[in-house]
């Protein structure tokens, strides 16, 4: 078990900074996900932790001890690659036993631990096969077994599920979560899939253009994003640019493209503050009554099975609204919308 810490880590490729002044901590036994669009620097960050890349500046600490001067093979981290990176010339058992062989574990113990690891990922009996004789899901399990068998201090995942089909991906992420909770190995997981991040993580770090913009528990970053990119990247968000017009007690009024809205905000806002309000589609209700009631025209209605997804035009703005059940309104219908009184308030535009 271990604590991983990055302090002011910077890495540039030529003139382009891939990672800029990143501060990040994965606590002992924690499942930390780095989430962000492609090219945001998340994989670079992971490779710096593994020692596969050297940072230009900053420190990497493992249990408070600086490790950034150690070469990759002395780091005690174990990584699961997006491509799995299984050795094609070795059997499954040889692949899983590779790390143990490098650590000079005696062969009897090695065999036992390899068998145990393969049982754990439900691949017992396939040790004699070559990776190319396995399905994508099985290869992924071999990669996980190969990483955990060495009992690393830190487990690193680089988009390990992105090459699998949707159904398998959903099942494997639950399995990964269960495995990590059983082993309690500190884990840093990189993904661009927001659903994966929400399901797996103890905390999510959102990265954008080489920086960590926000870090917090899944509910916090989803419900109360502090950065625009977080709201945009995690699920669907209706973002309205707003100007605070005045206060009534702990409630504020703000002018937005859809009209004047009333809202509650825990933070103090001043009149004239430029902010962005984020409304989740499932929080907007179709129906009349109360404050923040707007009228709009249905532009699109898409049936998603459990819910129906509407696009409603209010003034010049388009709002995404999700209602449970089958479509109740058709394109062109005029509907009343009720916006929640506690949107996420983001202090940037």
């Amino acid at each position: 078990m271990a604590r991983v810490e990055l302090r002011g880590v910077t890495k540039a490729y030529g003139p382009v900074a891939a990672v800029r002044d990143v501060h990040l901590e994965a606590r002992d036994g924690e499942f930390l996900t780095i989430l962000g669009p492609s090219g945001c620097g998340k994989t670079t960050t992971l490779r710096i932790i593994a020692g596969l890349l050297d940072p230009d500046a900053g420190e990497v600490l493992l249990d408070g001890r600086p490790v950034h001067h150690l070469p990759a093979h002395r780091r005690e981290t174990a990584m699961v690659f997006q491509s799995y990176a299984l050795f094609p010339h070795m059997t499954v058992a040889e692949n899983v036993g590779f790390g143990l062989r490098m650590r000079r574990v005696p062969s009897a113990e090695r065999r036992a631990r390899v068998a145990e690891a393969l049982e754990m990922v439900e691949l017992g009996g396939l040790g004699g096969r070559y990776p190319r004789a396995l399905s994508g899901g099985q290869q992924q399990r071999v990669a996980v077994a190969r990483a955990v068998v060495t009992r690393p201090k830190v487990l690193l995942f680089d988009e390990p599920l992105s090459n699998l089909d949707a159904k398998l991906r959903e099942r494997l992420r639950l399995e990964l979560r269960a495995l990590q909770q059983r082993l309690r190995i500190t884990t840093v997981y990189v993904t661009h899939d927001q659903a994966e991040a929400l399901v797996l993580s103890d905390r999510i770090a959102v990265m954008d253009r080489g920086r960590v913009v926000e870090i917090g528990a899944p509910q916090d970053v989803y419900r109360r994003p502090r950065a625009r990119i977080t709201a945009e990247f995690l699920g669907i968000a209706n973002l309205l640019e707003a100007t605070v017009a005045g206060a009534r007690g702990d409630r504020y009024v703000a002018d937005t493209p859809v009209g004047r809205l009333e809202m509650a905000c825990a933070e103090r806002l001043a009149s004239g503050d430029a902010v962005t309000l984020s409304f989740r589609p499932e929080d907007i209700r179709i129906g009349a009554g109360g404050v923040n009631c707007l009228r709009g025209a249905v532009q699109q209605a898409a049936y998603l099975g459990a819910t129906t997804d509407y696009v409603v035009r209010v003034n010049d703005a388009l709002l995404r609204v999700q209602q449970p059940g089958e479509p109740a309104y058709r394109i062109g219908d005029t509907v009343s919308l009720v916006l929640p009184e506690a949107p996420a308030v983001i202090r940037e535009r």
Binding site: R47, A50, G51, L52, P71, A72, H73, R74, R75, T77, A78, M79, F81, Q82, S83, A85, L86, F87, P88, H89, F98, G99, M102, R103, Y130, R146, T150
Partner: protein
């Protein structure tokens, strides 16, 4: 009923005849299409080889009585100068291939690492490829030969220079062949090594493999296809090498191709030269067969 069957049989047989005619025509077309390829092989490979073999058993001689005999092969095996020549060529092939391979493997692996000046290095190391082997032999001779640059240098300090050319084991020959073949092997092996995905090397490092362990357990096994091809090509080429041995070898033993040339040009003993040539060809073919046996099992696992 009978009428109906007769009526249907007539067009059937006509159809049959037409189909047979078309089949014959297609066979001609196939033969015609094969002619350039097969004809080329027959003209430039099978006929000359057959002629060499026939001569080696005393047949197809020009201006001499033809009589079948295994005598020239017996002469090859019983007379020490020919037998020693065969083993000397085998030694040159094995030694220079092994030394070239060891050097080429290490440098090919090093060329996979990014370092400043890598591009310049990758151009420079290929220079020996464009130097003809005779020129290479003169270069090495003027460097390490008796009275060469290095010999004169150490003599200046009162030391004696070891005999590296014209020696019993052909070290001078091997040196030139290695000088020439290392870049050749590197071109092939580097290309195969470059095609190993970076993730696989990174995974090995991440699992605790030192640079040497990565080289031994991952890079080399995954480059086997290129390594075996380069080894085969260099060995067969050196085994039949003429120019460099003829220039740098001692008076005895002589490499088999050099003996062949003497038999052919100086003694006009075409039959014996043909027998020696056949032995060289057969030995190379044996190595080729061995190579295919060796790679067959491996190809299925890797890639």
């Amino acid at each position: 009923m009978a009428q109906a069957s007769a009526a249907s049989a007539a067009p059937l047989s006509l159809d049959h005849a037409r189909r047979a005619a078309r089949h014959r025509r297609e066979q001609w077309v196939t033969a015609l299409l094969l002619t350039p390829g097969v004809g080329f092989l027959a003209l430039f490979l099978i006929i000359p080889l057959a002629q060499v073999f026939l001569r080696s058993v005393g047949l197809a001689a020009v201006g001499q009585a033809s009589r079948f005999t295994w005598g020239y092969y017996r002469q090859f095996w019983t007379e020490a100068q020919y037998r020693d020549g065969f083993f000397f060529s085998l030694w040159l092939g094995a030694a220079s291939t092994a030394i070239s391979l060891a050097i080429a493997l290490v440098f090919s692996a090093l060329m996979q690492i990014r370092f400043p000046g890598r591009l310049a290095m990758s151009v420079l190391y290929k220079i020996p490829l464009v130097v003809p082997s005779l020129v290479a032999a003169f270069l090495i001779l003027s460097l390490i030969g008796p009275g060469g640059i290095l010999a004169r240098l150490v003599f200046h300090w009162g030391w004696s220079w070891p005999q590296l050319v014209y020696d019993r084991w052909g070290w001078g020959v091997i040196l030139v062949l290695v000088w020439h073949n290392v870049p050749f092997m590197m071109v092939i092996i580097s290309a195969v090594m470059a095609s190993i995905p970076h993730d696989i090397v990174d995974a090995a490092r991440n699992l605790g493999a030192s640079p040497w362990a990565v080289f031994r357990d991952v890079t080399v096994p995954l480059s086997l296809s290129g390594i075996s091809a380069a080894t085969l090509l260099v060995f067969i080429q050196v085994f039949g090498a003429f120019a460099v041995p003829s220039l740098l070898e001692s008076a005895y033993p002589l490499a088999l191709p050099v003996i062949m040339q003497t038999e052919m040009m100086d003694r006009a003993n075409w039959a014996l030269a043909s027998a020696l040539g056949s032995v060289l060809t057969l030995a190379s073919a044996a190595v080729l067969v061995l190579y295919y046996r060796l790679v067959q099992g491996r190809g299925e696992i890797v890639r």
